[in-house]
Symmetry: C2
Subunit: 289 residues, 2 copies
């Protein structure tokens, strides 16, 4: 394992521990469903971005923990709802039964519904200026809304109507990119980065977000379920428009690499040590799961 991968692992362990401590512990159906959905070993890309952006200005991880949890809770809520029978109807997530399979549909909907406001509540508790809190909440709320994540998700469930790369890019930039960019923006705000740097880093985020998605589509085809944690080829079964279905596997691979390269170029004008962000871009398009 490379030094960078060890770093990612350590951030993963850190965020898992923090999430564990912050989710409700009482033994109710709702709390159990919330914990189950969040503490199931995700990749934690968004918290990692929070930490890696913080590194740029030597912000202590401790200072970023709550924000990192907040963006991950939003991500987890969106996964629970995406998996529902009325949406993607997925039985497996990260190798385990999806929340509605493990519990029931109502409980899954409500676990998602409870994770979302918890994310906003958490931000109000971060030790920073009220100005920063308001800016972070605005960024995150926009990312979650009809012009962001939810707008992308409704396009995704009708993705059989997507016939070109531009529309597919737009769908993913709303569905996945919005929250990735918000993770970067909020961490930039909390770490006191300049507006210019934050804007560049968001563009970087947009590129790696798309690259991440393309790689996900490739993994869906190439990896058996015990590696991907999902049913192999589930996108195909569901008649989803994906990058491979649109332009083939080879061109998808090339596009992902190209996006990672574009992302790295965006970092050039930033006069901070962006080594780890460069490594992240490479990591995203080389991962197998």
């Amino acid at each position: 394992m490379s030094e960078f991968e060890s770093l990612l692992k350590s951030y993963q362990a850190r965020i898992n521990h923090k999430l564990e401590g912050l989710l409700p512990m009482n033994d109710t159906l709702l709390s159990r469903a919330m914990r189950y959905s969040v503490l199931n070993g995700g990749k934690r890309l968004r918290p990692m971005l929070v930490y890696l952006i913080g590194e740029l200005s030597d912000t202590e991880s401790e200072y970023l923990d709550t924000l990192a949890c907040s963006v991950e809770l939003i991500h987890c809520y969106s996964l629970i709802h995406d998996d529902l029978p009325a949406m993607d109807d997925d039985d497996l997530r990260r190798g385990n039964p999806t929340t509605h399979k493990k519990f029931d549909e109502a409980t899954a909907i409500l676990a998602g519904d409870a994770l979302q406001p918890l994310a906003f509540e958490l931000i109000t508790s971060i030790e920073t200026s009220d100005r920063n809190k308001v800016e972070m909440i605005r960024s995150l709320a926009k990312a979650c809304g009809h012009l962001g994540m939810v707008g992308g998700q409704i396009k995704d469930i009708h993705s059989q109507n997507i016939f070109n790369m531009e529309s597919l890019d737009l769908m993913h930039s709303e569905k996945t990119g919005s929250l990735i960019e918000a993770s970067i923006e909020t961490s930039g705000i909390l770490s006191g980065l300049s507006k210019n740097d934050i804007e560049s880093l968001k563009s970087y985020g947009a590129k790696i977000g798309l690259a991440f998605q393309i790689q996900d589509d490739i993994i869906d085809i190439e990896s058996p379920s015990y590696v991907s944690g999902k049913d192999q080829g589930s996108d195909i079964t569901k008649d989803k428009t994906t990058y491979p279905s649109l332009v083939g596997l080879d061109e998808s691979r090339m596009r992902a690499k190209e996006l990672a390269n574009q992302a790295k170029k965006i970092l050039l004008p930033i006069t901070k040590n962006t080594d780890n962000l460069i490594k992240l871009a490479d990591y995203i398009v080389s991962r197998k799961a």
Copy 2:
């Protein structure tokens, strides 16, 4: 119509107009579903509370509009999800097809998912101090979470396990009371009321919230669908535990009146003109729809 009822009507018209202007207008499925779910003539109790609390310190309605919209969006999102097949499986809401009936289940889930963050985003745009915004967001987020609205909703869908008044009160105080109290608290914060007054007013809110719910249960039994906007007796069909099912209609009526009286008593120490809040308490337990 009494002068007070005219006032309520004028606030209703005001909030409907404001909501109309603030919801997304673009012609997407998601935006249409969001508009449909919100602009269907609800009672607008929570916005009214925002305005009536503001009146106590002569706060201009204009200053309260955005907050009033915000709490109503949360309420509307919760109704969409409560009506889903996996939850109450309701076909009618306010006399119209429920959102999942008018559109489809996925669209309904997502319309709710998009209304929630919009409510938080709106609060960040209110012209007040950042301190106030953070406090309002914290109050609202708590009300929406696992210890508030969502915690109550999961108890409600298993309400056949509720066998006594105390548990039924707790469920409703979480499910409905939380947001009612948050509407009062946030309006109190925005209007600059004292902490003491806000606490008293929240207790008032808890009482009228329960009274409102009991009256709803009574209306469900007594009013035909064209009055209540729901299927008559739908609680009974669904084997829900309600106040009438637990203690009968007469005692339910008495309890609602008693709660309204308790609410009015709580207002006594407040050295402001609380006439309209007194009238609201009476109105809530005398309404027929």
